[in-house]
């Protein structure tokens, strides 16, 4: 088990490195630097800012520094010199948990500070929507499958097809429209409501969880339908077990496994889906921060939050893989 965890954590490293590499490469392709918006800034000031953020160094490999140190300090120092580049320094700092200063704040705030400030809000939003998705999706799927081709089944099918196919920003905006036109609820302007758990989280959380809920419903439904036809269910019924025992102990337990498999992608979907929902409902979470960073071309913030999102997604997948073993002894033993 511990060996498995270690292997999976090590396997995360190339993925995260590749994400950093791709993101950094793409950011370098974008036209215009982060300090271009201020038209009045003198070139000397820009040069100063660039030096402060290490942007005066080569992007990938610092061959000049390599040659310097090679002749002066020997090969070890030279290798360090080779990586004294924008990417090299970024990665070295990132490994130590330092994602660098945000460009937007001119270096007074670091990316990790911003993440620490805004992530709890997104986390609360994500937890509520995951709970919603599980609490609604699971029973809806079971009900649909157990009462196949009845009104319950059609209801669960309609809800899940809509939730599965319609993008969240559409459902979110429709909900906002209904809230303001029909119920007269004004959009939230005061940011302090997001500091603790509050009712304001529910509309965005439900919309965010809608897709996951629908996916869970669809999967649970087909999984229960498949298990229902297995021989061991007929055996259980034949030996006179009551409906309740057959459903709870035999059907549900066995149909849970495929549902767990999608929780990894589901968590990933909640994480990456949050920035669209956050911008629709004006939730000041890490997603809004990311969208803002794109608007202002704050590259360090984009880099930092992309890495952070990827780490979350990768961790989510590992947790799901671990949970298989806990639920299904067949996987644990293989």
């Amino acid at each position: 088990m511990i060996g498995f965890i270690i292997r999976r954590v090590l396997a995360m490293i190339p993925v995260l490195f590749l994400v950093a590499l791709i993101t950094f490469f793409l950011m370098k392709q974008a036209k215009g630097g982060p300090f271009d918006q201020e038209k009045e800034v003198a070139p000397s000031t820009i040069a100063l800012l660039n030096r402060k953020f290490g942007l005066d160094k080569p992007a990938w490999l610092n061959t000049a520094e390599f040659n310097n140190r090679m002749s002066a300090d020997g090969p070890f120092a030279a290798v360090r010199g080779l990586f004294d580049s924008q990417f090299g320094n970024y990665m070295l700092n990132a490994v130590q948990g330092d994602l660098g200063p945000t460009y937007a704040s001119k270096g007074t705030e670091t990316v990790q500070d911003k993440i620490k400030q805004t992530f709890p809000i997104s986390l609360r939003l994500g937890l509520i929507s995951l709970t919603f998705a599980l609490v609604v999706g699971f029973p809806l799927g079971i009900l649909g499958a157990l009462r196949q081709n009845t009104i319950f089944d059609y209801f669960s099918l309609i809800i899940s097809t809509i939730g599965f196919s319609v993008p969240t920003f559409v459902t979110g905006l429709v909900l906002l429209l209904v809230m303001s036109k029909v119920f007269g609820v004004a959009p939230i302007k005061d940011p302090s409501v997001w500091e603790g758990f509050s009712m304001s989280y529910f509309p965005p959380a439900i919309i965010l969880g809608l897709g996951t809920m629908a996916y869970i419903t669809r999967l649970t439904r087909s999984s229960v339908l498949e298990v229902k036809r297995q021989d061991y269910i007929r055996t259980a019924k034949a030996k006179g077990l009551g409906d309740r025992v057959v459903i709870l102990r035999h059907i549900l337990r066995n149909s849970l496994i495929p549902v767990i498999t999608i929780l990894g992608p589901a968590v990933a979907g909640l994480v990456t889906g949050s920035f669209i929902i956050e911008s629709v409902f004006r939730v000041p979470g890490i997603g809004s921060e990311f969208i803002g960073a794109i608007g202002s071309r704050d590259y360090s913030m984009i880099m930092g939050s992309t890495l952070f999102f990827s780490l979350l997604v990768a961790l989510g997948n590992i947790m799901v893989d671990l949970s298989y073993g806990l639920i299904d002894p067949r996987i644990r033993n293989s």
């Binding site: 590749l18 392709q29 920003f169 429709v174 990933a268 794109i294 071309r297």
Partner: protein
Amino acid sequence: MATASNVAGTNPAQAQEFTRPVRSLWSDAWMRLRRNRLAMASIIYLFLLALVAIFAPVIAPHSPSRPTTTELRERGVYRQAAWVVDEKNPKRSGIWKFPLGTDSAGGDVLSRLIYGTRVSMVVGFIPMIFTLSIGITIGLISGFAGGKLDSLLMRFTDIIFSLPDILFFIIVQTAFSQTAFGKTFNGLLLIFLSFSAVNWASVSRLVRGQVLSLKEKEFVEAAEAVGVRRGSILFRHILPNTLAPIIVAGAFIVPSAIVTEATLSFLGIGIQPDTNPNNPFPTSWGQMILEGKSAIDSQPWILIASAIAIASITIAFVALGDGLRDALDPRQ
């Protein structure tokens, strides 16, 4: 496939008879699909949308782009939908000349909606073809070759698979949208490429799995025993048998590509709006939603109309995908 489905299609009574023409997997699947009412309704709806997309210039009552100054007097800024009467500001009341009202530039919402169909159709199908081609090629090679090449390709696939895709798209759009390459076809080409660059991974996993299990089947062994060449085994025996799951996967790629484009355009980094009246892709539904969001109080119909458009096209594609899956996989 065509002849068999014609037999089933033109003469259903004959298909019911005890002696009937030989039915292939495909005509069987077609029969099952025809019985699925939701899927058939979706096919008809999507076919109509395709016609709307092709004949947009004929159907649209007005030009989707910015009107001339004389037209603007009539169109106004934010005219409401035709049946809405604005008592405070009669200039904003709806008239039937513009059934769904006009936007903040005086553009006719209905005409924009009609032209927007084009983007959704193109952005659904072309990336699907790209994605399937890459995914099938890599999956076939990986599954058929096995060994070192297989594990190398699969390691690569795993890494691509674990990229958070929408994040990747956003970053690609930010990086390239201002370059000449990013502006080709209003930015459509960039969306096609970035979407396919990530989404092939799930297709290649699927195809590889299929190839691995088909490779062990008796008919492949038989073909090998008779001395059929490896290439023919791959293309004549294995590939046709993987087609059913590939078609289902393809049917679900279309709505996800449509949603991706709409999401990116909604974030303001997708398709670039064009006021040139000769541009075949002047607007997209995602963009209209973005505009509708800021005009949510003054002209709610921009938002409502485009929301219905996106919701119905994605629901139709998903229902079609569900129908295809049920039809092609008799085990369900």
